[in-house]
């Protein structure tokens, strides 16, 4: 038996590959045709080959709760998601615009705070921000850029509109999986890459290195770049090691670094102390420097903030960049774009209710069964309420929490995420996806060609986090053939 696209029913969702049953979208036509030519046994063999490659390449992610066996094979679906190049150009422009505005905002917030004086952004939202770091006021990072590496989550609703769901400006993860997914796909479907015009993604480590080198305080040909990891128990340790290796940077832990009397940062090597110019830190702000933040932290480096203030070392992302990562601040991004750039946002925000506004709070409380309510500063899908899927009791409990701390919550309508055909028990079935492109910014801006597509592997589920049973797919930006 072969794949019969006439039997694939995306229902009322927007499907990324098919306009309707039996009708592949233009950019996906080559792929759909090719998949149809495979027998069931072929398809199963390719799936097995992909799984084997993942084990052999040691692509893993870490789960906290599993005792000793904390490394699990990366869950991957072999059917790629396809985005037409023409559409991607627009998204890419939108991301550049958004990140430029966000960096203006962060720079302004730690500088003159014009946006507050001009009453575009409310002072009390900032006053209650958990990720605003007073220790960063007055610092001027190179090019005015604070969020050098950003992973923004994009979703597509049933009418086909692409929205920004959130911006991850602290230590966004996933780019290593984007790169590894492509390597696996090339192994499993080499023939597809010959016939399709798929944009490559493998420039990322080079671009990341160039971005980091560009902010080096010392103008050197070979600045010393280090990736600072909290260590092997961190859920993203695979990625930290991967990126360090690909960039030829040193993978360091807090204990490997020391700040000298000259306020420069050094690492302990077998040759003695060696100066570090740029640190791509994958440690949260509050654990970066026990002298300034959490005094009990073993993860950070005493004196690191002092060195950063003096400008002897560059930190990416800059401490405090998370102030714009707040889901309440998110609601103001379209205003920021208008305020700093004089443009309208190219990619819209998901409509957002700010619970600290009394009217909105009333609306949210009255419609908890229809909305998704999210804490402003959590990441990874923790602590949120998906109204339509929650029990009456859960909603009542959540309402109490909401009323106690409305500033900490936003609410959004439940989106009907788009789907992509996904191999489930030997058949292709629609499964919901999102997309995390990565944006690099310093002297130049780079946007990945596509990004990490995460897929909810359970039928009907909207949860795409790998720690909660989600998987991923390769993402293709494909130039459409003229028709």
């Amino acid at each position: 038996m072969r794949i019969d696209w006439n039997h694939y029913d995306p229902g009322s969702h927007f499907d990324e590959l098919l306009a309707a049953a039996g009708q592949p979208r233009a950019a996906a036509r080559g792929l759909a045709q090719y998949l149809r030519s495979l027998s069931d046994a072929d398809l199963a063999a390719r799936k097995a080959a992909a799984e084997l490659a993942i084990v052999e390449m040691g692509i893993t992610f870490t789960v906290y709760s599993e005792g000793q066996n904390i490394d699990r094979a990366w869950p991957f679906d072999i059917i790629p998601r396809v985005i037409p190049a023409r559409e991607w150009t627009q998204v890419e422009r939108g991301l550049r615009q958004r990140l430029t505005a966000l960096n203006h905002f962060i720079d302004d917030i730690y500088g003159d705070q014009k946006i507050i004086r001009d009453k575009v952004f409310p002072a009390d939202v900032l006053a209650q921000s958990k990720n605003f770091r007073p220790q960063c006021v007055g610092v001027r990072p190179a090019y005015g850029v604070w969020a050098h590496i950003c992973g923004s989550d994009l979703v597509r609703d049933s009418d086909g509109t692409v929205y920004v769901l959130e911006d991850n400006l602290r230590v966004p993860s996933g780019v290593s999986y984007m790169l590894e997914n492509r390597v696996v796909m090339k192994r499993v479907f080499p023939e597809l890459f010959e016939t399709q015009a798929i944009l490559p993604v493998d420039a990322y480590p080079t671009q990341l290195f160039d971005t980091l080198a560009a902010i080096s305080p010392r103008p050197l040909d070979y600045p010393q770049v280090a990736v600072l990891t909290p260590g092997i128990y961190n859920s993203a340790y695979f990625e930290h090691a991967f990126l360090a290796q690909r960039m030829g940077a040193e993978l360091v832990e807090g204990g490997d670094l020391t700040v000298g009397d000259d306020d420069c940062v050094y690492m302990h090597t077998i040759r003695g102390l060696q100066r570090v110019d740029v640190i791509y830190r994958r440690v949260d702000d509050l654990f970066l420097d026990p002298e300034v933040f959490n005094p009990d932290s073993q993860l950070g480096v005493p004196g690191l903030m002092r060195a950063w203030h003096k400008g002897t070392v560059a930190l990416a992302n800059a401490p405090g960049a998370g102030v714009a990562d707040d889901k309440v601040v998110y609601a103001y991004v379209p205003d920021m774009i208008r305020y700093y750039l004089g443009e309208d946002a190219i990619i819209p925000n998901v409509p957002t209710f700010l619970c600290h506004e009394p009217k909105s709070l009333d609306h949210v409380l009255a419609n908890l069964d229809k909305l998704v309510v999210k804490p402003a500063n959590e990441s990874g899908g923790y602590g949120l309420l998906i109204g339509p899927h929650a029990s009456r009791k859960e909603r009542a409990e959540f309402a109490t929490r909401l009323k106690a701390d409305p500033r900490n919550y936003i609410a959004q309508p439940t989106l009907d995420l788009s789907t992509v055909p996904t191999l489930c028990d030997g058949r292709l079935e629609p499964r919901h996806v999102d997309l995390r492109p990565f944006v690099l910014q310093a002297d130049k801006t780079h946007v990945t060609a596509g990004g990490l597509t995460r897929v909810a592997l359970r039928k009907g589920s909207l949860v795409v986090n790998s720690s909660q049973g989600g998987g991923s797919k390769d993402t293709w930006i494909v130039a459409e053939a003229d028709t």
Partner: protein, 310 residues
């Protein structure tokens, strides 16, 4: 190379060598007991003395009988030098430096540790002990070979050599010391028996065949001591290990302090002829060597490893 990484690589090699040596030791000792005629008992407790774990052993066991000694040496988590503990240590050190080691090394150490854990009971039971220990030795050798063949022979490999040879030299002196002190206290009349004991000393270091090929003398205490201390070609002799340490140190930066210590040991080995001194003096000499090896470790740690916190 980061100091922390150098330290982990060094300990990986030490733990691996320790696991292998301990497995060899138990294996040979079990055989030795089978060789001894009735009435001549060499207590299992000797193994505890050799490996220098008297204190933790006494804390957890009342009697030094076969079962408790073997269990303590092979699988007991209270003994940080037990085969299982050492393999866990090696595994942990590879795991935390995975970006440095070849991927096969991680898989191999993982498998070895898993095997040691799952079949631990087999090592304690007499009937399966031989197979179990042979597997452990085989796994350690496989890993050592894998590193020699697939890890770049750069600074990381030099730290592997340092860890391995220091641990190895230490074990050789310990085993030799058993021959010198305990075994010679047996009835002097039993010359044949003494020969059996020395043969087993050689066997526990896989040195019997090479001894026969290169020394061409009967197996006696003096010649065995001279061979295990001073032979320049046998990979488990103290002289060979010291030369290896010297070579690895010369390739590393800032190695003056540990090189200085190595030069001292080297001089001691050259100046002392084990055949020319009595048993008492030989025992003292071996004691000195052990202290010197400890100081080499301290010099290595002081030169390259991160300072302990606090």
């Amino acid at each position: 190379m980061l100091s922390r990484v150098a330290e982990r690589v060094y300990w990986m090699a030490r733990y691996l060598e320790r696991a292998e040596n301990t497995a060899r030791l138990v294996s040979v000792y079990a055989n030795l007991l089978l060789d001894l005629p009735k009435g001549y008992t060499v207590g299992w407790h000797t193994l505890i003395t050799i490996t220098g774990i008297e204190e933790p052993f006494r804390k957890h066991y009342e009697q030094a009988d076969e079962r408790s000694v073997v269990r303590f040496l092979l699988t007991d988590a209270h003994n940080t030098s037990s085969v299982l503990s050492a393999l866990a240590g090696a595994r942990e050190n590879v795991r935390t430096t995975r970006d440095l080691f070849p991927a096969e090394a991680w898989e191999a150490v993982n498998e070895l540790h898993l095997f040691a854990r799952e079949h631990a009971l087999g090592g304690v039971n007499r009937s399966q002990r031989h197979d179990y220990l042979a597997q452990i030795v085989h796994g350690c050798q496989q890993l050592a070979g894998l590193l020699a063949g697939t890890l770049s022979h750069d600074a990381a490999y030099d730290f592997v050599r340092l860890g391995r040879n220091l641990e190895r030299a230490d074990m050789t002196t310990r085993i030799l010391d058993v021959g010198v002190t305990t075994l010679q206290e047996q009835d002097d009349g039993a010359a044949a028996l003494l020969s059996t004991l020395w043969i087993n000393v050689l066997r526990s270091l896989s040195a019997y065949q090479m001894y026969r090929r290169h020394v061409r003398a009967s197996v006696n205490g003096r010649d065995v001591s001279a061979f295990l201390l001073g032979d320049a070609q046998f990979p488990r002799s103290v002289r060979y290990c010291v030369d290896e340490l010297d070579a690895a140190l010369r390739r590393l930066p800032r190695s003056e302090a540990p090189l200085h210590r190595i030069a001292h040991i080297s001089r001691l080995l050259t100046e002392t002829d084990p055949r020319a001194i009595d048993r008492e003096a030989l025992h003292g000499f071996i004691d000195d060597l052990q202290l010197e090896l400890g100081q080499v470790h301290d010099a290595i740690a002081g030169t390259w490893f991160p300072a302990p916190p606090g």
